[in-house]
Amino acid sequence: MLVCLLPASVLFAVFMIVPTVNVFRMSLYTWSGFSPDMRFVGLDNFRHLLDDQQFVRAFQNTIALLVVVTVVTMGMGLFLAAIMTRQRLRGRNLYRFVLYIPNVLSVVVIAAIFSAMYDQENGLLNGTLRLLSLDGLQQVWLGDQKVVLYSVAIAMVWQSLGYYMVLYMSSMAGIPEELYEASALDGASPARQFFALTLPLIWENLRTTLTFFIMSAVNLSFVLVRAMTGGGPDGSSEVLLSYMYKQAYTNSSYGYGMAIGVVIFAFSFLVSLLVSRATRREPLQF
């Protein structure tokens, strides 16, 4: 029996445990990433993090994206899924298809689409505002420090909304129709049915997607930021992973980059654990 587990255990150790341990180990060294000189510096890299305002900004941006994108995507995803499942909408398969398409596209393609939409002169957004004589609302969407992170957040929501909607729809479709009929006979409104029936019965699915949201806030934001803004202007759209990447591979501070990696690991792990604890409940049988 144990022999059967050996190949998987070896693969897991080589590709998961060893690299993770190495990230922790490398965070205690200064190393350029290329030279043979590696110097043990203990917790110095973490001490430097405390004085690094750019790291603090990247951390703040990551939390902002985590909260805003999760709340908006989850709210819209649940709302759309409930409408698509419960209401007899004409052409709902078309809506589902259209909303799901962004998830099939590469994130870099999405970044290119949104960069073109946000273009200051010829972009769809500013062009539409000009057409509607709303010139005052025009923005430098990817060049204004106050706006840029939310421009990225909109792209993140657009990319993932269809995916979460389909996930919620699949679990909502599994709820027996009789339960809704019985609650309707008892006088429950559609809103009441949603909160008292639908939400509890898709709770396990919601729990899973919450973990997905944490992972995508950390991972997907990196790709979009890298492709759309490069962290700019002046680092105002930097997120933790893009800052780690910059330090480790552009700034030749590999050890410092790994220290940021340790913080990302600890943060993601802790938030996922807390979400899991906060949402744990006895699964409902139906």
Partner: protein
């Protein structure tokens, strides 16, 4: 409040929870505008607030 009707109590609880959630999200958005450890801690506290809210909503279903 022992004399309060059950439905009123539920409505009040939902309203309070919605307000607290909105306040936490607003706190995250406003605290981001200034860079600093203090503001980062405020954002983390708001995130913890949202998680606490989720836990309090979930408690009666455990």
């Amino acid at each position: 409040m022992p004399n309060m009707k059950e439905s009123t109590r539920t409505a009040l609880l939902v309203a309070v929870r919605t307000l607290v959630a909105a306040a936490c999200v607003t706190l995250v958005v406003t605290a981001r505008t200034t860079v600093g450890w203090g503001n980062l801690l405020v954002m983390l506290a708001a995130l913890a607030g949202l998680l606490a809210l989720l836990a309090s909503y979930n408690r009666r279903f455990r």
